[in-house]
Symmetry: C2
Subunit: 235 residues, 2 copies
């Protein structure tokens, strides 16, 4: 049996987990993947992470539990740079790092509040949650709000990418991973308005065709099929 | 006229801004403070920070705009350590930094969702917002939920502080600043259940009596007086 250094607790359509899955894959860090349905509040999971959230990365040798996208990103950067490795997903210069972190926060907070929560929250999470925990059919107003907000964000991506090669600068960074992680979840539901901005679509086609993206495109949620374009590289 | 290197856009009872105010004060970084009522969506502010959120730190010499608590914290750590300074609010070891960031996230996300949003959001922000933007009288259910949740968090602080000198370890860190920033805002409304945990109260008395805390205790919001205990060091 091979010893894998890390375990990642995640959920297939959780964008926060997807950012970390992409980063681990780019950094070629081996990881055992475990699906966690956080809404079930499993006691053994809460022991490792009292906050009850995913993603949760466990360093198997030391048992160190690293919870949350930001905490994991900063951890990965610290071990990455302490190994003297280049090509960081966070860049090197201080203003450049501000821009990467600003955009990660943009997608994880603003995009999440305005789009992801309204679509993935309503159509995926509520479908599987018990009624007493807030489960039930999606709220139509929330879904319509999410779809309308997605247009503004796709245009913002287009605006950025007309000024730079990648979202935060001249190389791939966590900003691209965060944007692509959220969009890919929405895309699973067929709700990304790709016709809104041709440059945003071209940027997404570029990141989607990266080998690290493949496992995300083969994720399936029971009972919900993505549209054909979801895993089509020429969507 | 003295040139101050930074400007901080903030709001007096915004816990996210308070964390940064405390950190800047501890690091003795001079800053010009500007109050921003983000819900008014001022055009000049949105130009500096398209996300429209506070805190926003501006480095005056370069014009670099650093938005959001996490982004500012990481920025401060990077300039602090590049100046070779010790006594970081983030500690030095990798597992210790994970714990600081985990707790910052705990208060900024979990505590904020469960307590701050229900109390400060309902009782302060909605009071000053136009009705069409969601302003109005506080939602009684949200306020009761916030008060009930605050008890659990105060007990968690007590649990941590019985095992360590400060929240994330043996020295003051951003974890303490984050917890104290949120609690101090709730305390302005008199809603912290200090009788819930004597050790949590002792920890708060310790941080509250630190000189950097004084400006926070003299903040006043028009039309809402804090209870006497708010600024009393022997509350």
């Amino acid at each position: 049996m091979v010893n894998v250094p890390y375990t990642l607790y995640h959920y297939p359509l959780c964008p926060f987990s997807r950012i970390i899955r992409l980063a681990l894959s780019i950094y070629k860090i081996e990881v055992k993947m475990v699906q966690e349905r956080t809404w079930e509040r499993r006691a053994d999971f809460l022991k490792m992470n009292p906050g009850g959230t995913i993603p949760l990365l466990i360093h198997e040798k030391t048992g160190l539990a690293i919870p949350g996208t930001n905490v994991i990103i900063e951890y990965l950067e610290e071990i990455h740079s302490s190994h003297g490795k280049q090509n960081s997903l966070m860049f090197r210069g201080i203003p450049e790092r501000v821009e990467v972190r600003r955009l990660v926060c943009w997608f994880n907070e603003k995009f999440n509040d305005e789009v992801t929560r309204n679509l993935i929250g309503e159509k995926i999470y509520r479908r599987f949650m018990a009624k007493k925990l807030g489960g039930g059919p999606p709220d139509g107003l929330a879904v319509r709000t999410g779809i309308a907000n997605a247009r503004i964000h796709v245009r913002y991506i287009g605006y950025l990418i007309r000024r730079r090669k990648w979202l935060a600068g001249q190389a791939l960074s966590y900003a691209d991973l965060a944007a692509a992680a959220h969009l890919s979840c929405i895309d699973y539901l067929g709700h990304v308005p790709w016709n809104e901005d041709e440059d945003a679509k071209t940027w997404y086609a570029r990141i989607k065709s990266h080998p690290v993206f493949r496992p995300l495109l083969s994720d399936r949620i029971m009972g919900i099929q993505p549209p054909e374009a979801y895993s089509d590289l020429d969507f």
